[in-house]
Symmetry: C2
């Protein structure tokens, strides 16, 4: 493997000294980029793009050509595991992800297997290997997975949901079935992320997009405990370097303290948290990743620079901050505004 | 006006002694009740129902016939004010509320008038008068409004939104236009709630459904400051009794302290907050209303009783708690489970 030329991202997550604040952007390879839309059109469906390692590599690298980003993130979907379990993932235009089969009974959950990542998810591992090779040490590659709770919401609801009535109904009326599902998912995610690390991922992130829909007690029991189990099962070293793990629960700003106890290296923050307060709350336990409101990118260079500076000064002096948005970039953002953001992070982060 | 026979709800909000914990349920007059669906079918559209004072009164009283509730809440919509401003509210089947006109320019905002509640919103005041008369002192009547920020999201987006790109884009790129809109809305809401109080509402609640989509700084500036302005402009006494004011920001669990500083009497809590922690944070400043997860009602009597007890014991001894769900009741809930909840609140609250 080629030597890593820019390791700011890894160093910041491990709270080692950095020359400036590293930055990457959730969904940085996405629809706001015309070159992404061109590759996507060439590929066919969204899943066709995810399942083609060369094209997945192509879109992963596109934002790095435009912007001075400090990390690449595997282009894939959070629902690859349930798909590999046989639920039949598809994307209905304008409706988001759907499954052909949704889970309603313990018999269905009992019948689910734990997917071998080098079998049914081999396309993901091939993408990791291809991207890592093409990156050639330019910046580190981030692997990722959805959290067990987040995957379970889609599997029980059959797709996206506004109020999570089915999966949370199961939580209160049949917690044993939900726990069995979450156990299988935690095992699957552990294998999946370890396979990504073996294939070349230099950091991993767990996206708990829907943990914020739970009560504090249910979050601990049905989301965080399973994420902690995954963190403790991960291969935390590769190529002689530590592989940092980041947990991100959208809407989880009230639960940073227990999240920091899981043994992860960093916490992703959405924009509803003040990063200065967050740092006070978690102390030196973990690094922080985030957390500018993605909607700032609808404004102009001047406002973007003001808001970037505010987040960087909010975090304050010392390593341990990876700049990011508080959630994925929206599709109607002008790419030129992303350049302003990335350059502003490096400028203000160096002070 | 007839004397109030059950004033537990008002007393709890003012932290005066009560015999047991009072309870009402957000959206208690709603689609989970077959008798509501029958009246709704008779009325025609949802707005036809809202605009007919006799039918609005009928559905407001329906849940009181079934359950031992301690308050009635005016049956209406949160978007009556923008509709009265001329935006043309309608409900597209399965898509939620939409406006015929959405706001994109300062000229449009400048042209908006502040509606006279006894003119274009007279149907709401007539409903309040009719309900108050029909209630005949049985329980207090709650009036309500959407918050300025929440109304603005619908007015700028043209309806519901997943990521609030337009209205938050305006916040960062053209805050002067947004502030002008919010000022007009704050003035309109103040007049609207004062008119409801004059018409017979014995408590009022401000629903800030989308305040949780903001950063802490933007929440303070673009949502909370305008709600505080409304609170300070309300007529807080009627019929020789204090009229309590409740603020509810869904997803606002991180901001209870500044919310408690607005001069309101109570805070609504969603289910992502532990009510014991919330009480510690706000101290004796305000009463608390909430906060059981609405999804608990998908389970059975035993689990509902366990969860009700947990919320009541979480709040602890002393007055100042109004039991409610953390958000509106879902449409597929069995009404029998609501009876279990209401009776359990009175049973456990009496200890």
């Amino acid at each position: 493997m080629s030597e890593l030329k820019n390791d700011r991202f890894l160093r910041a997550l491990l709270k080692e000294p950095v020359d400036t604040t590293p930055v990457w952007i959730m969904r940085q390879a996405g629809r706001y980029l015309p070159e992404y839309r061109a590759t996507r059109a060439k590929a066919g469906s969204f899943m066709d793009l995810c399942e083609n390692p060369e094209l997945a590599c192509e879109v992963t690298l596109q934002p790095l050509e435009r912007f001075d980003l400090d990390a690449a993130i595997l282009f894939s979907d959070i629902l690859t595991i349930p798909d590999a379990m046989g639920l039949g993932l598809y994307f209905a235009e304008g409706e988001g992800p759907r499954f052909k089969t949704s889970l309603t009974s313990i018999a269905q959950v009992q019948a689910l297997g734990v997917p071998d990542p080098e079998d049914k998810l081999r396309y993901v591992m091939d993408a990791v290997r291809t991207i890592r090779k093409e990156l050639d040490g330019r910046v580190p590659l981030i692997g990722f997975s959805g959290s067990p709770w987040t995957l379970a919401t889609y599997m029980v609801e059959g797709g996206s949901s506004k109020d999570f009535g089915k999966v949370k109904g199961m939580l209160y009326s049949d917690p044993a079935t939900l726990d069995l599902l979450l156990s299988k998912l935690a095992e699957s995610v552990t294998l999946y992320l370890n396979a990504q690390i073996a294939a070349g991922a230099q950091a991993v992130m767990i996206f708990d997009t829907w943990g914020g829909s739970l009560t504090p007690e249910a979050y601990q029991q049905f989301s965080l405990d399973y994420m902690a189990q995954i963190v403790s099962g991960l291969q935390r070293e590769a190529d002689g370097r530590k592989v940092p793990v980041v947990l991100f629960t959208k809407g989880g700003g009230q639960w940073l303290e227990p999240m920091a106890e899981t043994g992860c290296d960093g916490l992703g923050l959405d924009w509803t948290v003040n990063i200065a307060d967050a740092r006070k709350r978690v102390g030196d336990k973990v690094a922080l990743q985030g957390n500018m409101d993605p909607c700032v990118l609808y404004s102009d260079a001047e406002m973007i620079r003001v808001q970037v500076k505010q987040v960087i000064e909010g975090y304050g002096v010392g390593s341990g901050h990876v700049f990011n948005l508080g959630h994925g970039i929206h599709q109607h953002i002008d790419p030129d505004n992303v350049k302003v953001l990335v350059d502003a992070v490096h400028e203000f982060g160096a002070k």
